[in-house]
């Protein structure tokens, strides 16, 4: 018996499982609808894990992916209730049940529609005076949960991911950030007329984001083409926070033709994707 126990302990594998990773995986799809399909495939794959953590993004771009996943839930009974969901960010001074909060947004647009209890959805809590503690508490939630199987990301026109605006440390953790005026203007459409977008948000840091096992950046439309080209082909720089994806072992970028318009190596990415060995598929 004792030998048996010993044997078991010696076979314990330490460290987190890691994809080998060679280069950023760029998938150029014909339309935004195709982007949503492929992105949903990655999420569905992540849901195969018995108790996964899924990282969700807010904003306009992922909505088509969520709609596709909701459709799979309704038509094929794809199950979501065994997972925990973690959000990238939340506005400071906005309570989770406020209609403009990201907590509310993600429940309304996605998790409530796929049978996920609101209490399985986690995000930083911005409606407190103790923002440092709220940031630390959120890091503790993330450390407690299994590493994210996948972290969905959108990208801002200035290259931000989460609310990590240009010049954010690439090693940053969850903390308060001041939003760029361009970001606030872009997000005004999610707020009722006359209600200003908050100036501050709590956001996962870039270091926090990079801890997910797979990063899945989604972008559609020509407004994102410049940011996408910088993120994939530009030098790694805090001026374009999304370039941090180049440091990750398993970063996938799923974009439509419009968002791919400024990529120098566009043809090469298409060639790689169309000659993908079976074992490399998501």
């Amino acid at each position: 018996m004792n030998e048996k126990i010993k044997e078991k302990f010696f076979t314990i594998r330490t460290g987190r499982s890691a994809a080998k990773g060679t280069r950023m995986d760029v998938r150029i799809e014909a339309t935004a609808g195709d982007v949503a399909q492929l992105a949903a495939d990655f999420v569905e794959k992540a849901l195969e894990s018995p108790s996964p953590t899924i990282g969700l993004a807010t904003g306009g771009t992922p909505l088509a992916t969520y709609a596709e996943l909701i459709d799979r839930h309704r038509t094929r009974q794809l199950r979501f209730d065994h997972a925990h969901y973690v959000m990238l960010d939340e506005y400071v001074g906005v309570a989770p049940d406020d209609p403009v909060s990201y907590h509310h947004f993600i429940r309304e647009q996605f998790t409530d529609q796929v049978g996920v209890a609101p209490t399985s959805v986690h995000g930083p809590l911005g409606d407190t005076e103790h923002l440092d503690s709220a940031a630390d508490a959120y890091e503790e939630v993330l450390a407690t949960l299994a590493p994210r199987e996948v972290q969905i990301l959108g990208i801002g026109r200035d290259g931000h991911i989460g609310f990590n605006e240009p010049t954010s440390s690439l090693a940053s953790r969850t903390r308060v950030k001041t939003l760029h005026s361009e970001t606030r203007a872009d997000n005004q459409r999610f707020f009722p007329a006359g209600q200003p977008v908050p100036r501050h948000a709590l956001t996962m840091g870039i270091g926090t984001i990079l801890e997910a096992k797979r990063l899945l950046l989604i972008a559609t439309g020509e407004a994102k083409a410049e940011a996408i080209a910088a993120a994939i082909e530009g030098p790694v720089t805090a001026m374009v926070p999304a370039t941090a994806l180049q440091l990750h072992r398993a970063a996938t970028v799923v974009i439509d033709e419009a968002a791919a318009a400024q990529l120098v190596q566009r043809d090469y990415y298409i060639e790689v994707a169309s000659h993908r060995p079976e074992w490399q598929r998501p």
Partner: protein, 240 residues
């Protein structure tokens, strides 16, 4: 890296794992069969081997399948009578010279969910296995020593009514109606905002999770049947 040994002593097996307190989800849990007649000294011998094998740990956390008060086993329904009154916490401290925490196994499992319950209000944590264990989490604290398994449910008690021994021919969906009966009664007693279901049955969540009709939002334990080991290890930090 801070690490603790998490131990979950049950009626049929002892589960162990070295828990990195900064990344508990990575814990690999090993299971060692124990006999129902296992006496305290036999269990301590198993522990000695495990402590030797896992390398340096700062502390030991133990979840025990019985009523535990201040580190002393008050009763152990599923194990040898020699356990009643056994000062488990002190015995482990004395033998291994490590900081030790001993708590009820359901309480230990509930500790693993505490960091995830910030937004959940009052949480009822139930373990479903051979018996039914219970704990309540509120304001970041596990309220210890609840024995809701003794609650009266359908001419029986929760502990027996929803025992996984009642699963016939692998039919978890039929068994799950018993879980509904238990959740209804316990919800009336505790008035939780959220219910978490752990224990051995949570490993089979995909077989019955969609069949239950819980009165409040209900999720499977994040760490399934590993929750007891993880929570026991985490309790070495939170309880001290």
């Amino acid at each position: 890296m801070k690490a603790a040994l998490g131990v979950d002593i049950g009626g049929t097996s002892m589960k162990l794992g070295r828990v990195d307190l900064d990344a508990p989800a990575d814990t690999v849990v090993s299971s060692v069969p124990t006999s129902r007649s296992a006496r305290p000294d036999e269990i301590l011998d198993h522990l000695a081997v495990a402590i030797d094998a896992v390398g340096a740990v700062g502390a030991v956390g133990i979840g025990f399948c019985g009523y535990v008060s201040r580190g002393v086993v008050v009763d152990a329904n599923n194990l040898d009578d020699a356990w009643a009154g056994f000062e488990l916490e002190q015995a482990v401290k004395d033998r291994f010279g490590l900081g030790t925490v001993v708590l009820n196994d359901a309480d230990a499992a509930a500790v693993s969910e505490v960091p995830l319950c910030v937004e959940r209000g009052r949480v009822l944590f139930i373990t479903l296995g051979t018996g039914v264990g219970s704990a309540v989490i509120e304001n970041g604290v596990v309220l210890p020593g609840l024995e809701l398994g003794g609650a009266w449910v359908k001419d029986s008690i929760a502990d027996r009514h929803a025992s996984t021994k009642c699963v016939r021919d692998g039919d978890w969906a039929t068994w799950s109606t018993r879980v509904d009966d238990v959740l209804e009664v316990l919800t009336d007693l505790v008035r939780p905002d959220h219910i978490i279901l752990g224990g051995g049955a949570s490993e089979r969540w995909s077989d019955w999770g969609s069949a239950i009709s819980p009165p409040v939002p209900t999720t499977p334990a994040t760490f399934r049947n590993r929750a007891g080991v993880l929570g026991a290890a985490l309790a070495t930090v939170t309880d001290k």
